[in-house]
Symmetry: C2
Subunit: 303 residues, 2 copies
Amino acid sequence: MDLTERLAGRPMTNPRADRVKDVAGLAGRSARSRRGLFLAEGPQNAREALARHLEAPCVDAVYVTAEALARHPDVAVLLEQVLADRSVFVRLVSREVLAAMSDAVTPQGVVVVCRLLDVPAEQVLATRPRLLAVLVRVQDPGNAGTVLRAADAAGADAVVLTAGSVDVYNPKAVRSTAGSLFHLPVVQGADLPGLIDGARAAGCGVLAADGRGDADLDRLQDASAARAAGLPAAGYDLARPTVWLFGNEAQGLSAPEKALADHRVAVPVHGRAESLNVGTAATVCLYASARAQRRAPASGAGR
Amino acid sequence: MDLTERLAGRPMTNPRADRVKDVAGLAGRSARSRRGLFLAEGPQNAREALARHLEAPCVDAVYVTAEALARHPDVAVLLEQVLADRSVFVRLVSREVLAAMSDAVTPQGVVVVCRLLDVPAEQVLATRPRLLAVLVRVQDPGNAGTVLRAADAAGADAVVLTAGSVDVYNPKAVRSTAGSLFHLPVVQGADLPGLIDGARAAGCGVLAADGRGDADLDRLQDASAARAAGLPAAGYDLARPTVWLFGNEAQGLSAPEKALADHRVAVPVHGRAESLNVGTAATVCLYASARAQRRAPASGAGR
């Protein structure tokens, strides 16, 4: 008996059912924090949520349409494995029910209800991280999600959002992460000075991305390549464990926030753009650190 | 007499006026192409549109609230200069009128109606460009705008969108460019094989960003640094004039599209992310080329 048949016994078809309203309500921050749950929508997030659940339980419920199950066999395979787990509520739903649960303009056939995943800053610092991305009062959910996805790709050990930042469990932020929320630890509501003290104690240097910074990212990267080649080089060593600070999209980092960093680092702007999108700046900075850290043990800039 | 007073003589306060509907209609692609006009919203876009207009006329009309004029003195200064130009229609409008004209959820007090800016591919190729970003069937307006802004920051000579891509004049795309649309030439509706033939004839190499690519961007960058240091290095020279191809966000580049490139280049993914957002990939690739091209004449990897 295949998965669709096993689930077909009790499909949900009433978009006005209390359970549907409960799920839809998780689009709001207060319901999320009260209930300790959030929504992960779409096949990519569902796949990553289910894969993580099989390692460390995090999924509360899964609602999926028959069409989506047929279209995403990888999700169906994971669901088969999860179904044995009685603590996860899995239901086939009609498209109307899915649309009523989803926050997306174009629902993608599957909604996973997950338990909040964020961890305390102390837990991240105890692992002696090599690369941390800190979002300082970033407001736009799409930006936060994009930075989280870029941090995952760059191999960052965790992402931290300071107090006053957008909620990373905002449905739009979750969609923008494309599943990366399930890949690396996230800290929310961090106090920036306390976090930086803890990171320094854990051996990290602190860099602030700042368009008007005193250090130039290209020079830091060249110095890192030189060092890896055994040549002398001055300045901050990008191969060090590093915390990167990225500021609010409109105002950037405040003067006191910048002052907390060892260096304020400018990403070069070669054209006429006045500034970089926070996602773009974070991508360039995190990839620069990742490159330096991964090159450090090797030798020769030409490798 | 200050600008607000000069404009106050004839404020627009009726959100149902025909002119208001005409402006709002430019949120739609067919009205834009029929009338040859598009909307640039918000102070950042307004500033860049007006600055460009003073060099090469492109602004048809400006609608601004008194609050926005007071809050953005840089826009007011540019408007003063543009007011002498009788071909630009400038009006103070009420907040209701501005909201009715704007496509944005949170209108930012100023809407500029501009003439379409895109140029033929031949015009771009005739300048023998060193760095071109080509969006191949990219669908999301926010992604297209973000890549355009990143291409501007990386100093690209132009951005090309192939046939089947989102319209770069989509209001959301324009907002995401943060003014970069007024900084560098944009080509729309390009035929990819024809564009690549033309680019090769103009001396460019062609690289396709491809998660499963045969070339690794880190290695290309290291080879470039080695070459600049006078060391031998094999493979594609990133310092060459280069066209980068970036694919559709869901499907990437098709096999025939990839086959058009000299190399398929993978951006390293160090963490567990399965893929990169197109904006993230474009940022890393374009910055890598910019770095190599700008380093080429210098010597020494440690500089």
